[in-house]
C-alpha cells in the first residue's frame, strides 16, 4: 500500500528554487533514506511532507489525504506523522515525562494516566525510564534525541520523519540513537530519514534516494546505490563520503 505519494513537488523561497520536481512514492513499512550534499533540498523535502514548509506547487498525498490541499486539516494529519529534528527541540520548561505526554493529553488522544503509562513504557524501550522526571538540559545529546523520538512515538504515528537525527550528536552517542531507529524499522514503521550516516542507510533502509540540486537524481536499493551507482553525481558524492 502506498503511504506517501509525492507528485511534481516544487518549493521556492523567493527567487531561489530549492525543490524542482520531486516525484516519489513510499510504501507502508518501508524505510527510505535520503542522502545527498548539503543544499540539495533533502531537509526541505522532508519538511514539506508534514507541511512545516508549505509546498509551492505539486501535490503530496499521505494516507490518501492530499495535505497540500488547504481544505484538509493539517493538524489532524500531523498527529499521525512523527518528526524528529536535528536539534532535538525538546521543550526545556517541561520534564521528560511532560514533554512526551503533553501532545497526547492536549489533543485528547489519552487521559493523563494512560499517557504517562504509555510514555514510561516507551521510555523503557529506549532505556531512559529512570530519567522521566528530569529536565531535558540535564540529559546528554543522545539521551535527548531518544526522548525526542519517544515524544513523537507517543502520538502513535504511522509515519516517522527523521531530519538528520544524529548530525548534532557527539560521535559516541550516534550509535544509541541509530539503535532505536533500527528497532523501529524492525517493527515495520514507515520511515523517511535524511541522513549522513551511510552505514545506517546501507544497513537499514529498503530504498535510498540520492538528491542533488533540487532533484532526486538516483534511487534504488542500498545495494545498487552504494556498490553500483550509475549517475556521475552520485558516484562523485559517494567517493567523497565513503
Amino acid at each position: 500500500m502506498i503511504k506517501v505519494k509525492v507528485s511534481n513537488l516544487k518549493k521556492n523561497y523567493g527567487d531561489l528554487t530549492v525543490l524542482k520536481d520531486i516525484n516519489i512514492e513510499v510504501h507502508e513499512g518501508e524505510v527510505v533514506c535520503l542522502i545527498g550534499p548539503s543544499g540539495s533540498g533533502k531537509s526541505t523535502f522532508l519538511r514539506c511532507i508534514n507541511q512545516l514548509e508549505v509546498a509551492t506547487d505539486g501535490s503530496i498525498i499521505v494516507d490518501d489525504v492530499e495535505i497540500t490541499d488547504k481544505k484538509n486539516d493539517i493538524n489532524k494529519l500531523r498527529e499521525n506523522v512523527g518528526m524528529v529534528f536535528q536539534q532535538f527541540n525538546l521543550f526545556p520548561h517541561l520534564t521528560v515525562l511532560q514533554n512526551i505526554t503533553m501532545a497526547p493529553i492536549e489533543l485528547k488522544k489519552m487521559n493523563k494516566a494512560q499517557a504517562e503509562e504509555k510514555a514510561i513504557e516507551l521510555l523503557e524501550k529506549v532505556g531512559l525510564a529512570d530519567k522521566k522526571d528530569v529536565y531535558p538540559t540535564q540529559l546528554s545529546g543522545g539521551q535527548q534525541q531518544r526522548v525526542a523520538i519517544v515524544r513523537a512515538l507517543a502520538m502513535n504515528p504511522d509515519l516517522m520523519l527523521f531530519d538528520e537525527p544524529t548530525s548534532a550528536l557527539d560521535p559516541e552517542m550516534v550509535g544509541e540513537v541509530l539503535d532505536v531507529m533500527k528497532d523501529l524499522a524492525k517493527q515495520k514503521m514507515t520511515m523517511i530519514v535524511v541522513t549522513h550516516e551511510m552505514g545506517f542507510a546501507r544497513e537499514v533502509s529498503d530504498r535510498v534516494l540520492f538528491m542533488d540540486g533540487g532533484y532526486v537524481v538516483e534511487e534504488g536499493s542500498p545495494e545498487d546505490i552504494f556498490t553500483n551507482p550509475k549517475n556521475p553525481r552520485t558516484i562523485s558524492f559517494l567517493n567523497k563520503v565513503l
Binding site: N50, R78, Q87, F91, P92, H93, A103
Partner: protein, 226 residues
C-alpha cells in the same frame, strides 16, 4: 534648620507622598500589562498590526509630559468645546492613563522580543506533534517567553515608578510634588531633594532585589541552572 529638623517636621508628609507614588505605580501595572499583551498580540496578526504600529509610534514619538497635559487638559477641553460636556479626570486617573499607555507600549515590545527569542524549533516541534497554533503558543512558546522577559518587565516597572514624578506637573501629591512643596516652605532645596532622592532609591533598590529573587526562583525551579 538642618537635615534632621526637616526630616522630623516633614516625614509624615513625605511618607504619605511616597505611598502615593507607590500606589500610582501599582495601579498602573495591571493596566500596562494588559495593554502591552494586547498590543503585542495585535502586532503578531496580519490585520491588526497597524494598531500596534500606530500606538507604539505615538507613545515613542511624544514626551510623557506632553501626553499627560494632553490627557489631563486637552481631552476635557475638547469634550467641552465639541459636546458641551463638563468632564474632568482626577489627577490620579490622568496619571494612571498616561503611565499605562506609556508602559504598555514598551511592554508590548518586550513581549514581542521575548516571544521571538524562543527558538524557532520549539514552534516547529509543537506543530509537528499536531498542536494547533494557539495551543503551541500557550503551552510551549509563552511559558518560555515569560521566563525570558521577567527581568525586562521588572526594569520597565522601575522606569514607570520613576516616571510617576512627571505626574507632579498636574498637581498630584506624589513624592516629587511634595518635595517641591516642602522646598517652597523651607527653602532647603539641598536637604529636601536629597531626602526625596533617597526615598526613590530605597523603593527601587527593594524592587530590584525582588526581581533578582524572582529570576533565581524561576531558573532554579525548572532545572535550567544545572
Amino acid at each position: 534648620m538642618n537635615f534632621i529638623d526637616i526630616l522630623k517636621d516633614y516625614w509624615p508628609m513625605l511618607l504619605e507622598a511616597a505611598f502615593m507614588t507607590i500606589k500610582l505605580t501599582i495601579i498602573t501595572l495591571p493596566f500596562a500589562l494588559i495593554l502591552g499583551l494586547l498590543a503585542c498580540l495585535c502586532g503578531m496578526t496580519k490585520h491588526f498590526k497597524f494598531i500596534n504600529v500606530i500606538y507604539l509610534n505615538i507613545v515613542r514619538g511624544t514626551p510623557i509630559l506632553v501626553q499627560v497635559f494632553f490627557i489631563y487638559f486637552g481631552i476635557p477641553s475638547v469634550m467641552k468645546e465639541l459636546f458641551n460636556m463638563p468632564f474632568k479626570f482626577t489627577a490620579i486617573t490622568a496619571g494612571v492613563i498616561t503611565l499605562s499607555l506609556n508602559a504598555g507600549a514598551y511592554l508590548s515590545e518586550i513581549f514581542r522580543s521575548g516571544i521571538q527569542a524562543v527558538n524557532k524549533g520549539q514552534m516547529e516541534a509543537a506543530r509537528s506533534l499536531g498542536l494547533p497554533y494557539h495551543k503551541a503558543m500557550t503551552k510551549v512558546i509563552l511559558p518560555q517567553a515569560f521566563r525570558i522577559v521577567v527581568p525586562s518587565v521588572v526594569n520597565q516597572f522601575i522606569i514607570t515608578l520613576k516616571d510617576t514624578s512627571i505626574i507632579s506637573v498636574i498637581g498630584l501629591t506624589e513624592l516629587t510634588f511634595q518635595g517641591k512643596q516642602i522646598v517652597a516652605t523651607t527653602y532647603k532645596a539641598f536637604y529636601v531633594w536629597i531626602m526625596v532622592g533617597i526615598i526613590y532609591f530605597v523603593i527601587i533598590y527593594l524592587l530590584t532585589k525582588l526581581s533578582k529573587f524572582m529570576e533565581r526562583r524561576l531558573s532554579n525551579d525548572k532545572g535550567k541552572g544545572k
